[in-house]
């Protein structure tokens, strides 16, 4: 039924989240989104492929220094049609990163566009680190 030629992009199979200890409450597949993580002097950027996710169904938490990304995907099936051939499965996304640097929590920015999450985590600047706030007595 298929003939295909893959050019530069290959090996794009989705990786399922391994079940460890705590089970997921949603009876749905969960995948580990493919991500790029890069760092500059100013901050860390995380870019994750999460097709099917928009800004309303992604949860990001930063607790201690663990960044957790959750994306919830609603199954959208063409009405009245039957799935005749399947190469990929649809499910939620789940991934956690441990961040080494101190992050300025108030400066975190997240954008979701075309199924890609872009997360910018600015580092605490040297000045911020040294600053000691003094309250009026």
């Amino acid at each position: 039924m298929t003939e295909e030629t893959a050019l530069e992009i290959q090996d794009t199979e989705k990786r399922e989240v391994a079940e460890t200890g705590a089970e997921r409450t949603r009876d749905r597949l969960a995948f580990v989104p493919r991500a790029d993580v890069y760092e500059t002097d100013e901050g860390i950027t995380v870019v994750a492929d999460m097709p099917g996710v928009d800004e309303n169904c992604v949860d990001i938490t930063l607790e201690q220094n663990v960044l957790t990304i959750n994306g919830y995907v609603e199954l959208e099936q063409p009405e009245g049609l039957n799935l005749a051939y399947a190469e990929y499965q649809v499910g939620d996304y789940q991934r956690a990163f441990t961040l080494s640097d101190q992050i300025d929590r108030d400066g975190i920015e997240a954008v979701v566009k075309d199924g890609v999450l872009r997360l910018y985590l600015p580092k605490v600047t040297e000045a911020q680190r040294r600053k000691i706030s003094i309250k009026a007595g």
Partner: protein
């Protein structure tokens, strides 16, 4: 039917439960899985059909609609496109798992398609192409008259 253990979940029961869910899922929603990772090109496609329609979906996160080229000829759908890398200067990459570059995929549909009526939409990184069956390809019912 499975009996519920009375003293909470033991690892064995949990494993059984996981297996059961897996089996249910495989049998209920997955009529035909492409055999293994090597069978498919990029992007992976799901194909939904009935008598007169086919809908093809593909996950293309981060691809711009202008960079996707869809052509249909008879019963062959061709999808061409590319994904451009982020332009980052002076950054150190800790992980680079996302793929960039061009892709080309052809797919043979179960019937010939009316190319004029093909509609494609792209939302949340998911491409969806609706392909109605060509009128001349539809089976014709032949009435047999009594002589």
């Amino acid at each position: 039917m499975l009996m519920r253990p009375y003293a909470g979940w033991t690892p064995a029961w949990r494993e059984m439960e996981r297996l059961r869910r897996e089996m249910n899922r495989l049998f209920s929603t997955w009529p035909r899985q492409a055999s293994g990772a090597t069978a498919s090109g990029y992007p992976a496609m799901n194909v939904w059909t009935d008598e007169d329609n086919a809908v093809v979906t593909a996950e293309l996160p981060g691809v711009v609609l202008d960079d996707i080229d869809i052509t249909v000829e008879d019963d062959v759908l061709t999808l061409r496109g590319s994904r451009k890398p982020d332009e980052v200067e002076g950054a150190t990459y800790h992980r680079q798992e996302r793929r960039y570059g061009s892709f080309l995929r052809t797919f043979r549909l179960p019937f010939r398609v009316d190319a004029e009526k093909v509609e494609a939409s792209f939302a949340k990184g998911v491409l969806r192409i609706a392909l109605p069956r060509a009128a001349e390809d539809k089976p014709r019912k032949i009435t047999v008259r009594a002589a």
